[in-house]
């Protein structure tokens, strides 16, 4: 990191290569469109390289990169949503639904649930969708999501709750052959852990 900040191009490239695959994966999950993902990741890297000097701790690079990417993704999702609302787009062209992104070993039931989830996520406001995706698709902790969204953990939780409710309503409406379970206790444990890390921030 120190070398990269000093303008060492090899170090910069090495730094980018270390973080970009994960970043591309996460952005891809949020956008579902390869071309848009590539654009967003490139914009993110360019922004990051331009502001590398302003980064305080080298260990924060990954989270900082994600927060830049999230801003780009948010903008794109909002634009996409508006275009759909005003009829400029009849469908999210180029976007691959989750069930088409699944691994070859995924079962038919998992594919069905992914399809349901994809339709539910499409109905969410961009900020809620991003929070939900980072939490349940990527498995990030609340504190990481709060950093990426540049908000408090409380706000993240509120968004997740709103998104959960919408997903549940959607699943019920579709009478999907799946049930949603949020009472496994592990969520509460995670929340407690994250809240304690938050140190009272709101």
């Amino acid at each position: 990191m120190a070398r990269a900040r000093g303008g060492d191009r090899e170090a910069e490239t090495e730094l980018l290569l270390r973080h970009t695959p994960r970043l591309a994966r996460v952005v891809d999950r949020m956008l579902g469109d390869r071309d848009e993902t590539d654009d967003v990741v490139q914009d993110t890297l360019e922004t990051a390289l331009g502001k590398l000097g302003s980064l305080r701790g080298p260990e924060a690079f990954g989270g900082w990169l994600l927060s830049i990417a999230v801003r780009h993704v948010h903008r794109r999702l909002r634009r996409r949503r508006l275009a759909l609302a005003f009829g400029f787009l009849t469908s999210a062209e180029g976007v691959e639904p989750l069930e088409e992104q699944c691994a070859p070993f995924a079962t038919a039931e998992q594919r069905a649930e992914l399809a349901l989830l994809d339709r539910a996520l499409a109905r969410l406001a961009p900020a809620e969708r991003i929070a939900w995706t980072l939490r349940w698709i990527e498995g990030l902790e609340l504190s990481e999501i709060a950093t990426a969204l540049d908000c408090s953990i409380t706000t993240v939780k509120r968004r997740l709750q709103a998104a959960d409710a919408e997903v549940r309503v959607h699943a019920a409406r579709e009478e999907a052959p799946v049930t949603l379970d949020d009472a496994d206790g592990s969520d509460a444990a995670d929340d407690a852990r994250d809240t304690s890390r938050e140190g009272g921030a709101s």
């Binding site: 191009r9 490239t13 590539d38 799946v178």
Partner: protein, 424 residues
């Protein structure tokens, strides 16, 4: 929240959609875009343009002088001046300041233009900030006090930059006629016009001091800022043959010659596909590439460009055509860091899109033998095992899968590898 069949982390049942490979391509594009946007580059270009315009304005303002022929070229001595007439080589414009058997050291106080005709040339540029334009058959060094060493090359002809630089070949040939500088003996010859050919020439610019902006349609990404200690190799198509009799100095160029564009349409298309590829417009890039000819571009491309060519073909739906730049990359640049990535991409192409698992396995094996980025190694090893299995090489597939499991027991493709190992 938890779904009934989906894992707690949904991404565990999602494909990574080539994120690793795409990430490498994105990083490459970012680096290029960043180089293009470098503010220092813009400042250098602006400064160099100002210098060039000022020099041209100054020359235009001065009263025209009758053309002169080469009078007394003196060679092989330090601080000698090439007096070839102001129109072509005013004594103020090109000074030979030193020479030995390995190099010819030249210094220019005006914009300097060198026409490449044959062979390889290495320009050792000692400079403050300046610009080297490497266009079709030309090296145009524009800066006051520019200072370069022709290190190698047997047919470099020099000329000061001036308006007729945009004129036809005949006019230029005449203007620079008789001014061949030989790197091997510092001979400045009289009327000799070296045998120009249409073959590709190679120019290597090595910067020893200061910073140089190298620009031109054959420069990777069209422009590259070089700092002291950096170098660039550019393959430049030589200018067409000048075996036709050169026009007399006093003859004005014909209208056709005057309006002939300096950069041919083909070069425009060549530049366009790169720009479009960098912008991620692969379909448009393919169309531009089609105009200029894939094979032609492949022959002249550097390692990064070869990867770009493959990207354009693959992403525009012409997977089969992506094989040519990748195999060329492995053939011409086997030791370049890009070769490992090229081999990996070639393996994926052959396995996933061309249905040739045996060839794919060969490529993956090569990628693993090369310096493949560590993040791609697990995937390459897994793909090697799968390709061998699909090619019917079951024993070897099992061995590769075992190797994967030893190195990455909880890797993302461990389940698939176990299935290969357990298959009987």
């Amino acid at each position: 929240m938890k779904f009934r069949t989906l894992p707690r982390r949904v991404a565990d049942v999602l494909d990574d959609r080539d994120a690793e490979t795409r990430a490498h391509a994105i990083v490459r594009r970012t680096r290029r875009a960043r180089r293009r946007k470098a503010p220092l580059g813009a400042i250098a270009v602006a400064a160099a343009s100002l210098v060039t315009v000022s020099a041209l304005a100054y020359r235009t303002w001065r009263a025209p002088e009758p053309p002169e022929t080469v009078e007394s070229p003196v060679v092989g001595r330090s601080s000698t001046t090439l007096t070839a007439g102001r129109r072509s080589f005013g004594p103020r414009s090109w000074t030979e300041v030193g020479a030995d058997t390995d190099a010819t050291l030249l210094e220019t106080r005006d914009a300097l233009e060198i026409v490449l005709t044959r062979g390889e040339v290495e320009l050792d540029v000692r400079a403050e900030e300046r610009r080297v334009d490497l266009d079709a058959g030309l090296v145009h060094l524009s800066a006051i006090g520019a200072h370069l060493t022709v290190v190698r090359g047997d047919t470099v002809r020099g000329d000061t930059a001036r308006d007729d630089a945009v004129q036809g070949d005949t006019a230029r040939d005449d203007a620079v006629r008789g001014d061949t500088v030989r790197g091997d003996g510092d001979t400045v010859q009289g009327d000799t016009v070296q045998g120009d050919t249409a073959q590709i020439d190679t120019v290597r610019v090595v910067v020893h001091e200061g910073r140089v902006l190298a620009r031109g349609e054959h420069v990777p990404e069209r422009a590259r800022m070089l700092a002291a200690g950096e170098s660039i190799v550019v393959r430049v198509p030589a200018r067409p043959s000048s075996s036709t009799p050169a026009a007399r100095p006093s003859e004005a160029p014909t209208e056709e010659e005057v309006v002939r564009p300096r950069v041919p349409a083909r070069a425009d298309a060549s530049r366009r596909w790169r720009e479009l590829a960098d912008a991620g417009e692969y379909r448009e890039a393919w169309r531009a590439l089609d105009e200029v000819g894939m094979s032609r571009e492949v022959r002249a491309a550097d390692p990064e460009e070869l990867l770009s060519l493959a990207d354009v073909a693959r992403r525009s739906g012409h997977a089969a055509r992506a094989e040519e730049p990748l195999t060329e990359l492995l053939r011409r640049f086997p030791d370049d860091p890009a070769a490992a990535l090229g081999a990996f991409t070639l393996g994926r192409l052959r396995a996933d899109q061309l249905g040739r698992p045996a060839d794919a396995a060969e490529a993956f094996e090569r990628a693993l033998r090369s310096s493949l980025p560590s993040t791609l190694v697990p995937d390459a090893l897994a793909r090697l095992a799968l390709a061998r299995r699909d090619a019917g090489q079951h024993e070897r597939a099992r061995a590769d899968a075992s190797r994967y499991l030893e190195r990455f027991p909880s890797g993302p493709r461990a389940a698939e590898m176990r299935a290969i190992v357990d298959a009987r």
